[in-house]
């Protein structure tokens, strides 16, 4: 007895240290991800800001392209953008302004860029949200159905998905308008409606057009991810225990298949925001995307810069959130150890 006591005495120290490390590890993991987020955003802001310096010639004249380059106007723009100061000071002023909510002034609207953006934001967010709903519901549904029906059903859905995935959003928009607006007259082809159900009615076609590529993508990822899970032993065990097919799929297949589906969602959000530029213009929705196209058209570079920054930030942010949520869904991706 005493002998074993002697041997066991130093043992408790190790678990304590391990527990301490386990407690620190998630914090380190989160800190690392947040740090990487800030670093990426910082470098991205450098790229977006200094892109203007790629254009040769007088920056004041570049910013005033297409407008009367009167001496007063040139002076005003020089003062507003601090063009007479060194480049790094211009950058710091710009970055400081962005962090404090001062995004500069729009040349076209003669308003603060932040006000212009905020006015347009709701339409874009509603459009993207509705598209996300379609993508989740239709994509998951098609993927699950394809995975559970071997043979003809699977092949049919797979071929449909390959075709749907190859339809660019603007072609989908035109096709949907031709079929449901001009042909059947079920949905409007223009404008964003009055809010409430009317808004959703107006946004249905744009959201479908926006989402079609990603519906196909999510469906394909769901299908292959589920096919992989269906062959696993734990699914066989669950089935042989006599669980119903529905609960096996929901609890043992779909849950494990969520990882890859979640991974693509970062790409998805950025893609939706960018493609919304084309869709909003096609359907006459006054959101951020249409603002981006209009600002390029009207040579309003400050607004373009701001929107590019917003989209990049959204992409990086969503990717970080996905990285942080991943371990909660799949504990095998334990915080800090990403080996599976």
């Amino acid at each position: 007895m005493t002998a074993t006591d002697h041997v066991q005495a130093p043992a408790p120290a190790a678990p304590t240290r391990k527990r301490a490390r386990d407690r620190v590890r998630p914090v380190l993991f989160i800190a690392k991800k947040v740090l990487s987020l800030v670093a990426t955003l910082f470098v991205a802001s450098l790229a977006v800001f200094f892109s203007r310096f790629l254009v040769p010639g007088d920056p004041a004249r570049f910013l005033l392209r297409g407008r009367s380059p009167k001496p007063e106007a040139l002076e005003e723009i020089t003062r507003q953008f601090g063009l007479d100061k060194p480049a790094w000071e211009q950058y710091l002023n710009w970055l400081g302004g962005i962090l404090h909510g001062d995004w500069g002034r729009s040349l076209t609207y003669r308003q603060d860029v932040s006000d212009v953006l905020l006015g347009r934001l709701p339409t874009t967010l509603q459009l993207v949200a509705l598209a996300a709903v379609f993508i989740t519901v239709l994509g998951l549904f098609a993927g699950i159905v394809a995975s559970l029906n071997k043979g003809f059903g699977d092949r049919f859905i797979l071929i449909t998905l390959t075709a749907a995935g190859a339809v660019p959003p603007f072609v989908a928009a035109i096709a949907l308008v031709a079929l449901f607006s001009v042909g059947l007259g079920w949905f409007p082809s223009f404008g964003s409606g009055d809010g409430g159900w009317d808004r959703i009615w107006h946004l249905t076609l744009p959201a479908l057009a926006l989402g079609i590529t990603y519906i196909a993508m999510v469906a394909r990822v769901t299908r292959s991810s589920m096919n992989e899970q269906l062959l696993r032993e734990h699914v066989e065990v669950a089935t042989s225990r006599g669980l119903t097919r529905g609960s096996v799929v929901a609890r043992h297949v779909l849950r494990n298949a969520m990882g890859p589906i979640l991974t693509v969602s970062g790409v998805l959000v950025a893609g939706l925001l960018v493609s919304s530029a084309i869709i909003e213009r096609t359907f006459g929705l006054s959101g951020i995307g249409q603002l981006l196209v209009q600002s390029i058209d009207r040579l309003d570079f400050g607004v373009v810069q701001a929107i590019v920054m917003v989209v990049v930030a959204a992409f990086v942010l969503v990717n970080t959130v996905v990285d942080l949520v991943q371990p909660l869904i799949d504990p095998r991706i334990a915080a800090g150890t990403e080996s599976r």
Binding site: P168, V171, S295
Partner: protein, 285 residues
Amino acid sequence: MTLAIHLPQAGLRRYGSLLSPMAWGALAVAAVVVLLSLFAPVLAPYDPDYVDLNNVLAGPGGQHLLGTDALGRDLLSRLMHGGRTSLLGPTIVVIGSTVLGLLLGLVAGWSEGWLGKVLGRLFDLLFAFPALLMAMLAIALFGKGLFAPILAMTIAYVPYVARLAQSLVVAERSRPYVQAYRVLGFRTPWVVLGRVLPNLIPTVGAQSTLNFGYVLADLAALSFIGLGVQPPTSDWGAMIEESRGALLGGHILPAFWPALVVVLVVVAVNVIGEELSDRIGGKLS
């Protein structure tokens, strides 16, 4: 259970078994579109920009095989000439991004030190800029047309190729043949360019093929919203934009043909690209 034994077939039959019927179909579609576009000046029945206001929105058949648009221009001729601009852009982007991506990927994969890490970070950063967004930023800087988006998308697609090449090079580096060349004292550039690079080509080629479809769709979208190819130059995306008025009036065909061609080409390219990557994946596993 039957035991399947794979033996390479002799002669030309090997190439026949290399592709599935679907891939052959895709290849045929792509070839027809490319040839029709390439020889448009010879083959096109009409001048693509000839306006015939007496023959507006004519149906298919008769004098105009696919009909005419709202200005009476022959749709088939415009499609064929439009293919030249619509296919040229993605071709330049894919060649440019593949060459640049391969070079950067080789360097990043081969150098173990800081250079590889810095390049890896650079690829990560470029991934944060979606290609279409980068193209729009470039148009805001350098003006409308094809130059700015082609330049921007070449850069935007570099990380897709480079990241793939990097991971492949890392895997190749530890293989016996590379070790053998090193031991025998061959120079690094010779080993990398002469012996490692050829092993990357099939996999990178499959990725670049898929990229072609995405670039084609994005460039067409830019022309569609009026930021890319400018009228009267015919381009598939611009043709769809020009046909919107007719579409709302119930004339579907002028928008339908270019849309169909865009989708057909993108599907064909995707099928070929996926077939290629499946083949390579099958070979490796």
